[in-house]
């Protein structure tokens, strides 16, 4: 167990170092969510006047949505790092050492958590500057749920990377999934203003679990708990899938 933790931390550190050495990428990771926030924030500023929104500013409403969407992107790209490692022979080198297999997936979760926390802090800071207000509970719920969702997606992205072994496949999947998954939730629009079918789909959409749970942080901890539970279960399933996918990779090399 101690060894597994050491492996996980070592792999997390490696990924953070690689990220840190790509300042442009860091900048994009931080700036992109701000563009969503400020762009959507002003474009749809007046939707809160519609009946169905319960007062407050749109930025207040939108921030959890943007934060969760950014976590989706952060997680989605995670598998790319392993494809690069595969192409360079680095992954094979890891696999012929006594590295705990699960550390590859677990480190993705930790790395994702660090990235999501930093990203979210910036988003929340800018939202505050834009006049939004969040209770401590909301902030805590946003962090926790965004990390659980981002971690699940990272594991899924890893699984896809191990099986498909091509960057194009991961890029395609992320492009295909992230935006629709965000719009099929109450991330941008109040739940009772969603068209009926989207409302129904959203109930099974993990993105919606995270958004709804995050917004409940100030009022309804039971809702936060059930959504966190669902996302936790999703995380376990995705991690198991990624570990299985690694075995598929080893059979194919």
């Amino acid at each position: 167990m101690r060894l597994a933790i050491r492996h996980t931390l070592a792999l997390t550190r490696r990924q953070l170092f690689i990220l840190w050495r790509q300042p442009w990428f860091v900048a994009i990771t931080v700036i992109q969510p701000l563009i969503w926030l400020l762009l959507f924030g002003s474009l749809f500023k007046r939707v809160v006047e519609l009946p169905g929104f319960h007062g407050g500013s749109y930025v207040d409403f939108l921030t959890p949505g943007v934060l969760v969407m950014s976590a989706l992107f952060a997680g989605g790209w995670h598998g790319m790092g392993y494809i690069d490692a595969m192409n360079r022979g680095i992954l094979d080198r890891f696999l012929v050492s006594p590295m705990t297999r699960g550390a590859l997936v677990a480190s993705g979760f930790l790395y994702g958590a660090v990235v999501i926390v930093v990203q979210s802090l910036v988003i929340i800071g800018v939202a505050y500057a834009d006049g939004a207000h969040f209770s401590f509970g909301t902030v805590a719920a946003m962090f926790a749920l965004a990390i659980l969702l981002g971690g699940s997606v990272a594991a899924l992205s890893d699984a896809l990377a191990f099986v498909a072994r091509q960057e194009e496949t991961v890029i395609g999947a992320v492009q295909f999934v992230v935006l629709p998954a965000t719009f099929l939730s109450s991330g941008m629009m109040a739940s009772n203003l969603l068209p009926g079918w989207i409302h129904d789909v959203a109930r099974f959409n993990p993105v919606n679990w995270a958004v709804v749970g995050a917004r409940a942080g100030s009022s309804d901890w039971g809702l936060v708990g059930t959504r966190a539970g669902l996302l936790g279960a999703l995380l376990i399933v995705c991690a198991a899938l990624a570990t299985r996918a690694l075995r598929v990779y080893q059979r194919a090399v």
Partner: protein, 318 residues
């Protein structure tokens, strides 16, 4: 068994698309020696290494590395081996030191011991000054050295080197050869080396297995393999492609065996090369086949390969 570092028996591996990479590979490697797995690209060398290093599993057959079964106890195998893969397994976005540190973490080496081990390896491979630079700034030769250093971090008893000098310039290759010799001689490491350079196998390996189309076609010391071939190698280059007629022409010349023709090149073994040449040349002239060049040489590994695989090494590489 005690003095064998690796034994393999009847290894078979078929890839999803039906490509049979290994078709019953078997050989044994003595402890503390450099063992060469020689063969053209695609012969099955890398697949063999992948199985022995637990990266993938065979469909059939058995393999022991340092006494451990690679399928049943892969963790035990992983702890005792070092691997330098065909592709550079180094991380270009990390420094040399970080690359070594990460691998040391995987082996669970206590941090103080690891620090000194890293310093020792950097020194040995002449990388101390570049240790804190990103690997992407290293030359090809330096990256390769770091690659070997990473493979040695856990004091392996068996080291796998998969095509260690492919893509290196002659100078870096010569340095690598010296290092490999030193590993076996001074550190007592058993080295399994795959190569498609005949010269490299000849120079480094004390034992060889020649692999072709997923099978071991010949095994022994380079000297044994060469001395199994009778006499000298005779190569005659004809002025034009003639196929069968050249074989007929030299048929029956005393002391000339195993004639074979490939385009304009006629090969044969000769009991005494110097004496056979005039007779062969005369026979070809008499048959109206002009000769462009003729050479006589001691048997080489290329000849061994030709003998066992039925084609020259260069042909197989094509």
């Amino acid at each position: 068994m005690e003095d064998l570092a690796i034994t393999t028996d009847g290894l078979v591996k078929t890839y999803p698309k039906g490509v049979r990479a290994l078709d019953g590979v078997g050989f044994a490697v003595e402890r503390g020696t450099v063992f060469g797995l020689l063969g053209p690209n695609g012969a099955g060398k890398s697949t063999t290494v992948k199985i022995l290093t637990t990266l993938t599993v065979p469909d059939e057959g058995r393999a022991l590395v340092a006494g451990h079964d690679v399928v049943r106890h892969p963790e035990a195998v992983r702890r005792t081996i070092g691997v330098v893969g065909q592709r550079n397994g180094v991380d270009p976005d990390a420094t040399g030191r970080e690359n070594l540190q990460l691998q040391g973490d995987f082996y669970g080496i206590p941090s103080r011991g690891l620090r000194s081990r890293i310093a020792e390896l950097l020194e040995r491979f002449d990388l101390t000054e570049s240790a804190n630079r990103l690997v992407r700034t290293y030359s090809g030769g330096m990256q390769r050295k770091l690659d070997v250093a990473i493979g040695l971090i856990n004091h392996p008893s068996v080291l796998f080197l998969d095509e260690p000098t492919t893509g290196l310039d002659p100078e870096a290759r010569a340095e690598m050869w010296i290092e490999i010799e030193r590993l076996a001689r001074e550190d007592g490491v058993t080295v399994l080396l795959t190569t498609h350079y005949l010269e490299e196998a000849d120079r480094l390996a004390s034992q060889l297995a020649i692999v072709d189309r997923g099978r071991v076609v010949a095994a022994g010391t380079p000297e044994q393999l060469k001395s199994e071939l009778r006499g000298d190698t005779l190569v005659v280059e004809l002025a034009a492609s003639v196929n069968g007629r050249a074989l007929q022409a030299i048929d029956g010349i005393e002391g000339v065996h195993e004639p074979a023709i490939d385009g304009r090149v006629l090969r044969a073994r000769a009991d005494a090369g110097a004496r056979a040449v005039p007779a062969v040349l005369a026979a070809l002239e008499a048959a109206g086949l002009p000769v462009a060049a003729a050479t006589v040489s001691r048997p080489s590994l290329d000849d061994v390969y030709l003998r066992h695989a039925g084609r020259t090494f260069a042909e197989a590489e094509r």
